[in-house]
Symmetry: C2
Subunit: 215 residues, 2 copies
């Protein structure tokens, strides 16, 4: 059964794509155009009632929320492809901790930047300068904590690549490559080395090449 | 080894407490006074560099982010106390989905209410009426989706109580009991029945009785 992933052109669905590639799981993608409001159409809302991306269909199993989907596949195909959950329950605990940090501390300010720097001009709405400034400040503080953590371990959850690192790829890419904030990563030695490591994985390079960001 | 839980008087640490009780795990609590800024003191930041609650210590294992902690204990003590992750990988996938929905759709608007309705007066800062109005609108929309879901299944992830439901208790309690929004739950038949069910579990009643909310 081939997994169907909705919305490959956007950030959060890319979290799912890179996970599926790491786990060597076959998938196909279904385009959803946010700018045309396709995520608010009745057919889409039947799959994802909150009207956000991504959602997957795997036979008759439907699942949404990107970080739930990547946990599901990392667990279901534990012995296939890259191990992404750590080897022990304690390692998995730390993977979960840093997945939560990514969700609550890393992505939100970058998401605000993306909305104000990249999406507002396309939508023809004014950019919120205060939101941009506050986002920059938050990202700097978060990256300072990452710098300290990554000076002690090669990856966020320890000396192994995991979902915790993988989950940073879509919005890390926005930060470094599309919002002109690459310096925020480059100025921090350990964050910079970590970013080079994870963003050069063949899985992520394939995602970026085959499923272009819409902006 | 007794688990130490920091900050029992606040919402997110209560998510951990109720989980530990369901899993029959012995613990003790360490008070942290946010109003005195104890979460920003160097000793606390060594445990939790982002300066937020909760954090646990279990021997020499330290873990933060409440939803990471509850996943860790639900997995570690899978065969003890209440099963909270579902029986199959597919059920766990849905538990993860609704845990994410709670984190991204349910808690944030209620958190904004709590800040503006409960904390602002104590801190002597003005309440943001626009934020309150927007939060009320968001909560209503989210609860409409919950109503639909709970008309088809007794609990969020299916016909079994899980971390997905448990995770709603601390901020559901704020909504119903401390911000004067009980009607938002009562007006929705299935949400109301679900809330009565989960909030009357002995574990949660014990948390509310023994670890009073600070406001």
């Amino acid at each position: 059964m081939v997994v169907k992933v909705y919305g490959p052109a956007y950030g959060c669905p890319k979290r799912v794509l890179v996970c599926l590639i790491e786990k060597q799981i076959e998938f196909e993608t279904v385009d959803v155009d946010l700018f045309k409001g396709e995520h608010k159409e009745p057919e889409f809302l039947k799959l994802q009632p909150f009207g956000v991306l991504p959602v997957i269909q795997d036979g008759d199993y439907t699942l949404y929320e990107s970080r739930a989907i990547i946990r599901y596949y990392a667990e279901k195909y534990r012995d296939q492809g890259t191990e992404l959950l750590g080897k022990t329950i304690e390692e998995r605990g730390l993977v979960e901790q840093w997945l939560e940090v990514e969700a609550h501390n890393f992505q939100p300010p970058i998401y605000n930047l993306v909305i104000n720097v990249l999406f507002s001009p396309i939508l023809g709405v004014p950019s919120d300068a205060k939101a941009v400034r506050e986002s920059d400040e938050k990202i700097a503080k978060v990256l300072d904590i990452y710098e300290e953590r990554l000076s002690k371990a090669k990856y966020l959850a320890g000396d192994f690549f995991s979902l915790a690192d993988l989950s940073h790829l879509p919005f890390g890419h926005y930060l470094v490559n599309q919002t002109g904030r690459g310096n925020m990563v480059r100025e921090r030695k350990h964050v910079s080395a970590w970013w080079d490591d994870i963003s050069n994985r063949p899985s992520w390079k394939k995602v970026v090449q085959q499923y272009k960001y819409v902006v």
